[in-house]
Symmetry: C2
Subunit: 231 residues, 2 copies
DNA sequence: TGTTTTAAAATGATATCACATTTGTAGGGG
DNA sequence: CCCCTACAAATGTGATATCATTTTAAAACA
């Protein structure tokens, strides 16, 4: 077992205890603080977060409804395992949903937004240099989220975040096993396409972004794990 | 206020109280037992279901994470309102997600499955004759679900069900305002396409099924409500 | 009559406790 | 050495009580 600590997040004053627990656990899953297959207990989490079990229970239930945490038949909790079939399905869904979201957001893209995204992308370069994977993951997701949420009639973002949650624990392993991070190039492609008002190119860049970050390296890791298991 | 009673569902012995509350409330939302905009209270639901507030709270939290129930800033709960923009977005998502699911399920379609679906479709004819809208809604969803869940690597079904939950309260109003129900024809088209091993035709029938049941009548109702409000 | 103030009721949030189930472990038997 | 049983610890579940906040209603005032 490597790092098992749950990353802290700022607790805004409007948050109830349950919401704080929810967002903190959610962030932990997103950035891959829990390895796939990790067993969780309500009391254990309550102790780690220094809260009573009640709000933890509610937070965990929410995450289980978003398929971020699996509830087993004996009512124990665990982070779902990843399999090649599930991985392919999740990545394919990510692509379809994010392209859908991007198409619907495209008419709302403005110069101001492009500039905001460019600044965020610059900060991501800093996170890469510092090898701060948590911050990189968060900023990468924020980058996509800012774009998708431009569309005011929003129903797809929660679905995308559910997929992100399910990919998070595995994605972390993928990132840790990869030396070169090439997400940012695709982000710059996206920005260039936005400036050129070229929706097709923007969506193509998004698809490449997701594929590059997931498929190739993910498939490799799954194959490696399988081989290791076979030996 | 018309019917506000929460439809009963059988409580399986493996269910915890929280799960029973969750499935019962979820079913109520799905079949449109709550009108859009309905205010809910934890204690009120607890009283209606004859349970203590704790499991109700957990069930409600799960449903809020699935966007079936809205949590307002003052922590009160309500069934989300429907707007033309949100409606179009939800229906478009339904189409994309269900076509995705159907494509991935298609290789697993067998004669036995087709026969099972045909039987279910026959029972839906009975529900239409009896004008049992709750049963019709449930069976219609089960029809689609059986198909989509043929694919063992399943990640899309929870997303589809989240969309169903969000359309449920409004869809009920649509159905109530429609005299002729033509869902079943499309189901028979789907079955015919499956027998002919024609995936394209099957997906086309699904898209028509969703569009027929939603877009036309839904748009009409929203326009009617808007006009009524304007007057 | 309409608006503001104030008190009471209702509601949400959460800690705690009691109970049932499950897990882990030590001891005994094969 | 392996498997089964028994007991203890840990865990999930759900009811209840308490507190803070919000809503509702009434009363007071302009």
């Amino acid at each position: 077992m490597t790092k098992s600590d749950i990353p802290d997040i700022p607790r805004e004053d409007w948050m109830t205890t349950q919401e704080y627990a929810y967002y903190r656990l959610r962030n932990a899953v997103m950035v891959g603080a829990f390895r796939p297959g990790t067993a969780l207990t309500i009391r254990g989490l309550a102790q780690q977060l220094d809260l009573s079990p009640t709000p933890i229970r509610e937070a965990v239930r929410r995450l289980s409804s978003e398929n971020a945490i699996e509830v087993l038949g004996n009512r124990r909790l665990k982070i779902p395992e990843m399999s090649p079939g599930r991985f392919e399905e999740l990545v394919q869904l990510r692509i379809e949903l994010e392209i859908h979201a991007a198409e619907r957001a495209f008419p709302y893209v403005s110069e101001i937004i492009i500039e905001r995204l460019r600044e965020l992308d610059d900060r991501m370069d800093g996170a890469i240099a510092a090898r701060d994977l948590d911050a990189l993951t968060r900023m990468n997701q924020e980058f996509h989220k800012i774009l998708y949420c431009l569309n005011p009639y929003q129903a797809v973002m929660p679905l995308i975040e559910s997929i992100w949650l399910q990919l998070g624990p595995f994605q972390r392993q993928v990132i840790e096993n990869i030396e070169k991070i090439n997400v940012v190039d695709r982000h710059k492609e996206m920005l260039a396409a936005m400036r050129a008002r070229d929706m097709i190119a923007m969506c193509a860049a998004i698809e490449s972004d997701i594929r590059d970050g997931s498929i190739t390296s993910g498939r490799l890791l799954l194959r490696k794990q399988k081989d290791a298991f076979a030996v």
